[in-house]
């Protein structure tokens, strides 16, 4: 029907073939090499549970080829093996068990210390499930959310039955990781499944998703389903887990030889794909479906030389064509080289060997209930069908052989770990890595639990029919691609002011700051700096948090929140404010102005607006104040007009008074500028005469253009954050976050002047009172540097050192243009009971503690 490419050679496939069935038909028997000892591994479970058939398909590693359908032109490769999986020289490690004991990575290459990085590199090359293609871009994953009444995971007979019932009472989503019925051989089961599927599909409120794997159950409920190129987040009211059961893994010597196969894999090859899985077979039948598997094999022409059957099922065996029947027989061992050659069965305490190339195991069913075990107690998650069956011991844990196919862990390894003191299932898992591979314990979980339970009470086997505690089930249930994990995750959210397009067209260098996309410079930050200091400039400060606090309780709210006095503020006047938390630590700062009685206007830092909004509302609620908070951050833009000619510029564009009386230093007024209603707020952050024009957002671009046009007379240049960095540093103003520590109090920031401890109550007051008796241990300081690097900014982040001991850190550093000196801010700890005045920086420069502001210390320029 078509052709795939298997390691460079063409392999034809038939309609309905999986990759594994096509390869098996083509004679491939070694499907992979084991992780540690590079043992040959053949097709084993046929249900996408074990790791044996994992291959790289079209550069995508770790694909379960036993369930992946063939498609024309697919390129398939087996991972691992040197030079290849068929002839693998690394198989020599299978004879080096002594030097690679369980937990060897805790024991070997410890000394000399340089050995481990080398060994690690070698180990990584020798192991693994394939390589990610470094040059292939991740494919986009569609992400969507579904809200349903019932999610049914698994579309077998139990799942579809449950979906049909649930569909009578609400919306239902049924998902299955394959196509419905794709792995069921023709027969009564397949017919029943088709009938149920047709019923379910006919229901209007039931949706079916095929090819989607449930990755886990998260609190909520929330179940992510990963499909090819799509991730569906399902938010159901309840979950029905109908994931069926996995066939039990047999543990005996030689159990991982190619040719040893679980019943469903063998019957699938024979019954669904028309591929004879072997010529001569020994079959172990301990389940009802094992009888069906046996029939499928004989129908496909496989010669069954022996059947080991449980007593209960012996009477149901076909009367002919099944060779020797061994009732209640066990597999003692399987032998072979590159594949199976013989099997020894135990009967009545004696062994008998049978030559064969196929051993088919139908040992029992282990509920695939990991998904349900992830749910929290009380969450509406139920198991149905085989998934609801019990996992109980039949008293057979295996005496030797491979327990964990994924991680190459044998019974011998578990014994050794047990002897070393790892004596329950959870720590055996962590030490030996059993159940931590791609199958996530589907194959080996039960065997590990059985081993731990049987050894716990000193028996060779646990009592038949008892529970064995299993390890904790966690997501993901199946291997998941990085694309699926990352699907829909977008961490970056850029806020933009209304002036964004103008900045772009002006050639601004934009970057992220405080959650906003902001201009850092327009190409010449020093020129922008000079415009502010010498002429006039504008800056987009629409990012600032802006709030109206109004209502009968507004006066009390601001008085309770801010540590400074507020009752003495006249209408039209504003004041610098700190916000403290209950521990007395500085959280934010801003300007608080009284517009009228019960009407306040507050600005906060750009990154702190959300926190300020929440803080104001929370405090109003806690104090039950009739005060209302209107966050105007999105509603109003703001442009800072700064420089000696700022007032001259505004006078060109307004008929309103803008002089020192109308809009005084530490004041604000509502004016109209260029036809735009603005709240003009006097500020001093850059140290020059400055007016922030707060205005309706949509009027921002027009106002900006008018200001820039009118400012040509003074060679106006807009300035960005790079220029602002130096402008504010010269004034000694801190950037909260950059220049402060999370536990900075006003005193540590030398801002005790912003706190009025005579107020009866404000947030953080009690903490400040308690701390007031403690000696100061750290404080923020102004610094001047000498002998430092040519680029003063390189000093940022350097430690401050006294006599070889680090006592502080530089948080800001620049060369002042106005003063032609290297200046900065930082924090220092006390040394010998006092704060040091002279320190050394990490790069050897000298730092001297100096008072701030560095520039215009009396503030005459700022006051205009």
């Amino acid at each position: 029907m078509g052709t795939i490419e298997f390691e460079g050679r063409p392999v034809s496939f038939e309609q309905g073939d999986t990759i594994a069935s096509a390869l098996y038909r083509a004679g491939v028997r070694t499907f992979s090499r084991s992780l540690k000892y590079h043992r040959r591994r053949g097709l084993y479970c046929g249900t996408g549970d074990c790791p044996n058939c994992l291959m790289t398909v079209d550069e995508r590693p770790a694909v379960h080829t036993c369930t992946a359908p063939c498609a024309e032109g697919m390129r398939i490769e087996r991972p691992g093996g040197f030079p290849n999986a068929e002839r693998d020289l690394l198989h020599v490690t299978d004879s080096l068990h002594r030097v690679m004991p369980v937990g060897f990575y805790y024991k070997t290459f410890v000394r000399p210390r340089f050995a481990w990085p080398i060994a690690e590199r070698v180990i990584r090359r020798a192991t693994g499930l394939g390589a990610l293609p470094p040059t292939t871009a991740a494919t986009r994953q569609v992400v969507r959310h579904e809200h349903v009444g019932t999610l049914v995971v698994g579309a077998g007979i139990a799942g579809l039955d449950a979906a049909r019932d649930a569909g009578a009472g609400g919306t239902v989503l049924v998902c299955d990781e394959g196509r419905i019925g794709h792995a069921i051989a023709p027969g009564t089961t397949a017919d029943r499944l088709a009938e149920l599927a047709a019923d379910v599909r006919s229901l209007e409120n039931v949706a079916v998703l095929e090819g989607f794997t449930a990755l886990g159950i998260y609190e909520g409920l929330h179940v992510p389903l990963a499909g090819d190129g799509e991730l569906v987040h399902v938010h159901p009211s309840r979950v029905i887990v109908a994931t069926g059961a996995v066939e039990e893994h047999g543990v005996f010597p030689g159990n991982d030889l190619p040719g040893v196969m679980l019943g469903r894999a063998a019957a699938g090859l024979a019954g669904i794909h028309g591929v004879r899985p072997g010529e001569r077979a020994v079959v172990v039948v301990r389940t009802g479906e094992g009888i069906d598997h046996l029939r499928a094999l004989t129908a496909a022409g496989v010669e069954v030389v022996a059947v080991a059957v449980s007593t209960a099922l012996a009477s149901r065996l076909p009367s002919d064509g099944v060779g020797e029947i061994v009732v209640d027989g066990d597999v003692l061992e399987a032998r072979g080289g590159s594949s199976l050659r013989s099997v020894a069965l135990r009967r009545d305490g004696r062994g008998k060997r049978f030559d064969c190339d196929l051993l088919v195991l139908s040992l029992g069913l282990s509920p695939r209930d990991g998904l349900a075990r992830m749910a929290l107690p009380g969450e509406p998650v139920t198991l149905v069908g085989d998934a609801a069956g019990e996992t109980r011991h039949d008293g057979r844990c295996g005496h030797d052989g491979t327990v964990c196919l994924c991680e190459d862990v044998s019974i011998h390894d578990l014994e050794q770990a047990w002897d070393e003191g790892f004596r329950n299932a959870e720590i055996l898992k962590r030490y030996t890595t059993t159940t931590m591979g791609p199958c996530q314990g589907a194959m080996c979980g039960r065997a590990l639990a059985c081993f731990a339970a049987s050894h716990a009470d000193g028996r060779s086997h646990p009592p038949e029919g008892t529970d064995a505690p299993r390890t904790t089930a966690r997501p993901p249930t199946r291997p998941v691609t990085l694309e699926s994990l990352a699907a829909g995750v977008h961490e970056i959210v850029d806020k933009r002011t209304s002036l964004h397009e103008l900045h772009v067209s002006a050639g601004a260098q934009l970057d992220r700051s405080g959650g906003w996309l902001r201009p850092f410079s327009y190409g010449d930050w020093r020129g922008e700096y000079r415009a502010v200091r010498e002429r006039v400039s504008v800056m987009d400060v629409g990012t600032l948090g802006k709030f109206t606090i109004a209502g009968p309780g507004a006066d009390e709210l601001v008085d309770r929140l801010f540590p400074c006095r507020t009752d003495d503020l006249e209408p039209g006047r504003n004041r610098y404010v700190l916000t403290l938390d209950e521990a007395g630590y500085v959280m934010d700062d801003g300007l608080l102005g009284r517009a009228d009685e019960g009407d306040w206007y507050l600005t906060s830092t750009s990154g702190g607006a959300g926190r300020m909004d929440a803080r104001l509302r929370n405090l109003a609620d806690r104090l039950e104040l009739d005060a209302h908070v209107l966050d105007r951050t999105a509603q109003w833009g703001a442009i800072n007009v700064a420089g000696p000619y700022a007032r001259d510029l505004l006078e060109r564009l307004t008929d309103d008074p803008i002089g020192a009386e109308a809009v005084p230093s530490r004041g604000f007024a509502d004016v109209t500028v260029a036809g735009v209603p603005c709240r003009a707020v006097r500020t001093g952050f850059v140290g020059e005469l400055a007016f922030e024009l707060h205005h309706p957002r949509r009027r921002g671009p027009g106002l900006w253009r008018e200001l820039v046009d009118a400012g040509r007379e003074w060679d106006l240049r807009p300035h960005g954050l790079d220029a602002l960095e130096l402008l504010r540093l010269e004034k000694g103003h801190v950037y909260l976050g950059q220049d402060t520590m999370p536990d900075d109090t006003p005193a540590k920031l030398r801002m005790s002047w912003a706190v009025d401890m005579s107020k009866p109550w404000f947030v953080g007051k009690q903490a400040l009172e308690r701390m007031s008796s403690l000696p100061p241990s750290r404080r923020q300081v102004g610094l001047e540097f000498s002998g430092g690097p040519a680029d003063t900014a390189a000093l940022r982040g350097e430690p401050l050192i006294v006599r070889g001991t680090v006592v502080g850190r530089i948080t800001s550093a620049e060369r002042s243009i106005a003063l032609d000196r290297a200046i900065g801010l930082g924090w220092v700890r006390t040394v010998d009971g006092g704060f040091p005045e002279r320190l050394e920086t990490g790069s050897g420069a000298t730092a001297r503690v100096v008072p701030t502001p560095f520039y215009d210390p009396k503030g005459g320029r700022m006051r205009g």
Partner: protein, 140 residues
Amino acid sequence: MAELRVEHPSVVVVLGSREACDAFDVPDGTTPMRIAPGELMLVDAPGVAEVRVPTGSAPWVEDVSDAWVALVLEGVDALDAFARLSELELPVDGWIQGEVVRAAAKVLVAGDRVAILVPAMLATHVEDRIRTDAAEVLDS
């Protein structure tokens, strides 16, 4: 398919006591969004006058249209498009508030019209994400 439009609706906010908000006279045909006990938001509410200096128990009423942008999905796949943007479970007709592509949003639903009201500074981010994340069901 669904069509995506950017709209600038008129938005009025009413701030007052719980009782004042309860008693506020909402114009016919307007969906009142009670976003907090003391806060009411009205979209496309004709005839609501601003009250910036309230007296007595009257609420503060202000047009805050500049603060909001509506990204409107309309068409048979509008709900499907929205399901690619947020885990919010939409009402059949009504409104809900929560996170849409990591932006705090109010979402108004009327039939196959879903209006996502977001703060203006996030409008470009949300629009870009809608065009990317719901590309398969949007009219080009």
